[in-house]
């Protein structure tokens, strides 16, 4: 077991007790990003406490999950950025052009930019990064899929990188704006995977100084930092201590007692409790997919659409979302996040109807009931194995799953909830040992639908991860997603994506719950912003406040 659990439990108690006695009063409004009780000061080290899993590698090219995106935002930068409206903005690339047929893209790089090891940020570096992502030995999944249509990067000259595509990719810029395709020093990559995982070398406002596993990563300021607009101006903070605190109660208590300045993944009741104190709440829902339960259609019982519909009709998550999340989020009826303009909803498919669920199961042959009240067919119990990643699902979400377990039991489902850590969870998915799973997937733009529901995505990426957990294989859906990906016409894309989402919803492949929750609570710091790409926080303009 990787958790030094008794220590955590004891320290959690100690912290809770210290939080009770500590002062949490303040005159802040709990909104906006400034703290009126103090004044900003230059320097100092910010302490960030994350509840996400500790990455096994700090290079987001390897694998490619959200914890890696969170931390790498501080030291790696992408080719392009994206503002809150969804407009792609220059970053390491100052400009780009695309050919008529959509198969050739030229990216122009800023002159004179260097990585923190002195290596120039040039076209050769971009080429090396794409090749690194595509190299099976890297074991990439998220970045690998994002550059899947790039057949080759040609070095035209030092500042011009030409991307040759195998097929038009309307989502290319969005894909390249993510942390998982961020550009790092080719000299750093050359050191080999172990060295690069320990301390990737980028162009960001901070540099990885040391990594103490199971405890923290120390980041120090990049004194020569150049901003996306070309001005040289380092961050105000001297450094960031990135601590791993898996327990939500401990994190919140540490924030209240002033031991940390920023926490992620707070419990909804903590968010509500922090209102009206000097704690600031940042709500930055992730783009891409909504948070949903995927039903594995590759094996019984969910290979039968009637059984899937019965599960969804009997789940009734809404009352639980209302109470457990205390108004922090709203129910979703879409495969896409509400921040995606192309999101398509159909609430009518998800109404609670136990009688209908029972009738569907009777019709599907699950007619018998065993001694425990679960339905059976040919002596086989109607069991749904549901591995839950405790690193990704906050306690409120785990409670919601228990409620869904209780509700679907009325219809005769036996849901077996299996809480596990992230690595065990990946293993369970890889072994196909699940009937239901909640797997957050973040990607900028509606192209996430192709990653999640295209039949190609049932084939594992080099990391062994496949994103189509519902294992949807529908040629009509594939055709829509391919056409949307190739289309350069915004209106046509939106229409194709709407059709694709209708197929996903009407096939009862997923039970949407709400947006992928992405909340941050800050105290004693101002100027914390989240990026318009995958909603990770950046501390380039953050400053500690005197209180």
């Amino acid at each position: 077991m990787r958790r030094p659990a008794p220590v955590i439990a004891l320290s959690a108690l100690a912290l809770v007790l210290s939080a009770c006695s500590g002062s949490t009063g303040g005159d802040g409004e709990g909104s906006g990003s400034s703290d009126p009780s103090g004044s900003a000061q230059a320097g100092g080290t910010l302490v960030y406490a994350t509840g996400d899993a500790e990455p096994t590698c700090l290079d987001p090219h390897v694998g490619g999950n959200y914890p890696q995106a969170l931390i790498s935002t501080q030291y790696l930068e992408p080719l392009v950025g994206r503002d809150a409206d969804g407009t792609i903005t220059p970053w390491l690339a100052t400009g780009w052009t695309v050919s008529e047929d959509g198969l050739t893209w030229d990216f122009t790089l800023a002159e004179g930019r260097t990585f923190t090891d002195g290596t120039p940020v040039d076209a050769a570096a971009v080429k090396a990064n794409v090749e690194h992502l595509q190299d099976p030995d890297t074991g990439s999944s998220t970045g690998y899929l994002a550059v899947g249509k790039v057949s080759e990067v040609e070095v035209v000259d030092a500042t011009t990188a030409r991307f040759h595509l195998s097929a038009p990719d309307a989502a290319l810029l969005e894909s390249l704006s993510q942390q998982w395709t961020a550009i790092q020093s080719p000299a750093g990559i050359e050191r080999g995977q172990d060295a690069n995982c320990a301390a990737p070398i980028g162009t960001g406002p901070f540099v990885v100084e040391a990594w103490t596993p199971q405890q923290q990563v120390d980041l120090v300021r990049n004194e020569d930092y150049v901003r996306p607009d070309g001005t040289a101006e380092p961050a105000a903070l001297e450094g960031i201590t990135w601590r791993f605190l898996p327990d939500a109660a401990t994190r919140y208590a540490a924030l209240g007692s002033g031991q940390v300045n920023v926490i992620d993944n707070p419990q909804p009741d903590s968010i509500v409790a922090s209102e009206g104190t000097d704690i600031t709440h940042i709500d930055a829902p992730r783009p891409g997919s909504s948070n949903r339960i995927e039903l594995n259609t590759a094996q019984a019982p969910f290979d039968d659409v009637a059984v899937r519909e019965a599960f969804i009709r009997s789940a009734n998550p809404e009352p639980g979302i209302e109470t457990l999340f205390a108004g922090v989020t709203a129910p979703s009826y879409s495969p896409l996040a509400s921040v995606e303009p192309t999101a398509y909803s159909d609430e009518s498919l998800f109404g609670y109807d136990l009688d209908e669920a029972e009738a569907l199961l009777d019709g599907a042959g699950w007619t018998e009931r065993d001694a425990d009240g679960y339905r059976t067919r040919d002596g086989e119990r109607l069991t749904v194995r549901f591995p839950v990643s405790t690193n990704q699902s906050v306690a409120a979400e785990q409670s919601l799953f228990e409620q869904i377990q209780a509700n679907t039991r009325q219809a005769g489902f036996e849901v077996v909830l299996e809480p596990m850590d992230l690595s065990a969870w990946y293993t369970a998915l890889g072994e196909n040992a699940y009937e239901a799973v909640s797997a957050p997937y973040t990607k900028v733009g509606p192209d996430v639908l192709r990653v999640l529901y295209h039949s190609d995505s049932t084939v594992p990426a080099p990391s062994g991860y496949f994103a189509n957990h519902a294992q949807v294989k529908d040629p009509a859906l594939d055709a829509l997603l391919d056409a949307a990906s190739a289309s350069q016409d915004e209106a046509e894309r939106a229409d194709l994506y709407a059709q694709a989402q209708a197929i996903v919803l009407e096939g009862f492949y997923i039970l949407p719950l709400y947006d992928q929750q992405n909340h941050f609570l800050t105290r004693g710091v101002e100027g914390v912003e989240t990026l318009g790409t995958v909603s990770t926080p950046t501390f380039v303009d953050a400053a500690l406040t005197q209180s």
Partner: protein, 269 residues
């Protein structure tokens, strides 16, 4: 029997009553709490203890009293099972070492010493790490981890009894080894163990609850007491009853079993 009851005294009687109540919760939880421990009611979530909801409700609106009562079978049952494994193993090890040939005694003693060198909880964590979390794993883990302690007591008792005058006398009378074992060694070695085992059940309940508390034991929606403590911990500042109620029940169980064990020990001597 009446003499035994008198010698338990008032504290012993109270302890015995608490244990009897716990056993009733294990055997027939419906008598104490007729409801369904997994029945949810989101609209009635987080109610403080009051009339009809003696221990309040949790974040899903489940009745905490019903869950605690129905959780007795997993918590106490698991404690009993773990102790049964521990004593079963100890019987074999202890008697083998105490009555067997010298080389066996030395061999068993070394094994017991090595196991003894590891704190019980560390040994249990190690076993759960190897086997993977779950109720069966924690039962086995706590059982194995407690065995060395019982084995030592048994070995010492068995040696004392075997070396006693009345055993020597019986042997001189020409009684068989089996007769001596049945008539003298077993009863005189085992009776003191009853008191220790009663103490041990309380300890095992706490250990199993501890394993569940850190997420290595019972799975949701089980209302095992340690798992309830863990789930309620997140709401400690707002809804104290989610941790205090199961916590008090664990304490009461362990205390009752300890008092009873002490009293039984005194009765035995």
């Amino acid at each position: 029997m009446r003499g035994t009851a008198r010698r338990l005294g008032v504290p012993g009687g109270v302890a015995a009553a608490v244990v009897a109540l716990m056993l009733l919760a294990v055997v027939a939880p419906g008598v104490l709490a007729p409801g369904d421990p997994t029945a949810i009611d989101p609209a009635g979530a987080m109610q403080a203890p009051g009339w009809g909801v003696w221990f309040g409700t949790d974040e899903s609106g489940r009745d905490v009293w019903t869950r605690v009562v129905h959780g007795a079978s997993s918590s106490l049952g698991v404690g009993l099972a773990a102790t049964a494994i521990g004593t079963g193993l100890a019987l074999v090890l202890g008697f083998a070492a105490g009555l067997g040939p010298r080389w066996l005694d030395v061999g068993v003693a070394r094994v017991v010493e090595v196991l003894y060198a590891l704190p019980t909880m560390v040994l249990a964590l190690l076993l759960v790490a190897v086997q993977g979390p779950g109720v069966a794993a924690s039962v086995l883990a706590v059982g194995l981890a407690t065995a060395p302690g019982y084995a030592r007591i048994l070995r010492a008792r068995a040696r004392t009894v075997a070396g006693s005058g009345y055993v020597a006398a019986a042997r001189l009378e020409g009684r068989s080894g089996a007769w001596v074992l049945r008539r003298h060694v077993l009863p005189n070695s085992l009776w003191p163990l009853v008191a220790v085992v009663t103490l041990g059940i309380g300890q095992a309940v706490v250990w199993v609850a501890a394993l569940s508390f850190i997420g290595l034991g019972a799975k949701p929606p089980s209302s095992e007491w340690g798992a309830m403590l863990n789930a309620g911990r997140l709401y400690l500042t707002t809804s104290w009853w989610l941790t205090v109620c199961p916590g008090l029940v664990i304490t009461a169980t362990a205390a009752a079993l300890t008092v009873l064990g002490r009293r039984l020990g005194r009765v035995a001597s």
